[in-house]
Symmetry: C2
Subunit: 244 residues, 2 copies
């Protein structure tokens, strides 16, 4: 691909990520009644906000840590810790996002875990938890031998992109589902099929999430933006020691 | 990633792809009234069948052509043509799949292109048409200079994976939407939220599509399965001559 500089691309990504968070907040605040933590529909609204912020935007930021030119020089350990911390924050937001939707369902007597969106979304979060634990165990704890780390690294990298892709599919199906629920024929002032402003706004949010995710995957795929491993003296230095 | 042999993996992928086509056919035939080309709901049923067969299964097969060990030896041109023909067939099925849903909507007075699923799905098919035309122009016609082909190739490869990923997100959101329509509270014998057998079956179809797509992306990402370019004598040989 053409050799663009990483930092302007990163600024574009940052703006797009903030745009996604702003769009999902505005949708829930302006059209869906705002936020509360009380089991009501306003508690549900935390679900899209926390999922988009955690599983897409923060997750994307975590994935790109090693592409920052500053991460190419000097010890790798602080960047590993930043990567792990951002991913952990993304995971905590995702868990809170799940608590929000389960609490809303339980309070309103709606069954949990029946739609394809919920199956895929939960599978994505579970996969992310495995990815985090395996990454922490292999790359930050001092117990994994070098050969196991080398074997696991491309698997971790592949699942890194895969989980982001599954998050995007979960977000799109979730936004689509929520719009059919909220803008139902017969009960909504203007139903989804007549494209009221809310529908256009939330559809655009869905496309923004896709654009952000595709650009993150593009940055991850670009060979010249990858951290040159040979430069690093402590590629294999774990958090609690340097046994290997 | 561990160095698995490609052909057994390919057999697994082939079975999974056939499984996706069988599942979507069985869903439409057994629970949704079968197939017809008459503007009715039975015409709509061609939409999921043609989209899954074209944009996921055939598209995945087209993407993997160069990973076949047979494609590594001898002239590249026949494999380029197979890649282009499979992609063209996938595209034709996708267009027919769009005709099926537009005709059904028009016959039943339902507006077109309002849901996020429809926006993302149409964007994916449009992107695929650009990818096909650009790929044909750059790699099969004799006019593109070598430097342009070399510049465009990684872009073509990146969008190859991206379009498959967007197809998967479109399929998941489409299946989810269709189940909410067909198994509506109040009109369906057992609504979606109580997980009747149809819902479980179609949710599993959604997960099978995701599994198939992720395994195709995994095969595409594996460095040892990539065609070694240096082996080929006619990497740059286009369809209508060998000017470059």
């Amino acid at each position: 691909m053409p050799d663009l500089p990483f930092l302007p691309f990163c600024t574009l990504l940052g703006s797009l990520g903030l745009g996604c968070v702003a769009f999902v907040s505005a949708w829930c605040q302006y059209w869906r009644g705002g936020f509360a933590w009380d089991g009501s529909a306003r508690m549900f609204n935390w679900h899209p906000l926390l999922m988009v912020t955690g599983m897409v935007v923060l997750y994307g930021a975590a994935a790109l840590v090693y592409r920052l030119p500053a991460a190419w020089r000097g010890p790798k350990l602080p960047w590993k810790m930043l990567h792990g911390m951002l991913a952990l924050t993304a995971f905590i937001l995702a868990v809170l996002g799940l608590v929000a939707v389960f609490s809303f369902h339980n309070a309103s007597g709606t069954p949990n875990m029946y739609s394809l969106h919920s199956w895929l979304g939960l599978a994505t979060v579970l996969l992310f938890s495995c990815q985090w634990v395996a990454g922490f165990g292999a790359f930050l704890l001092p117990y994994a031998p070098v050969w196991l780390r080398a074997l696991y690294k491309p698997v971790h990298v592949f699942f890194g992109s895969t989980i982001l892709m599954l998050s995007m599919a979960s977000c799109v199906s979730g936004i689509n589902e929520k719009l059919f629920f909220s803008l139902k024929n017969g009960t909504a002032t203007v139903p989804y099929k007549l494209l009221p402003p809310e529908a256009v706004f939330a559809n655009v949010l869905g496309l923004l999430i896709i654009l952000f995710g595709v650009l993150v995957l593009c940055a991850l795929a670009k060979p010249s933006w990858k951290r040159p491993e040979a430069d690093s003296l402590d590629t294999h230095q774990p958090l609690l020691g340097a046994e290997h």
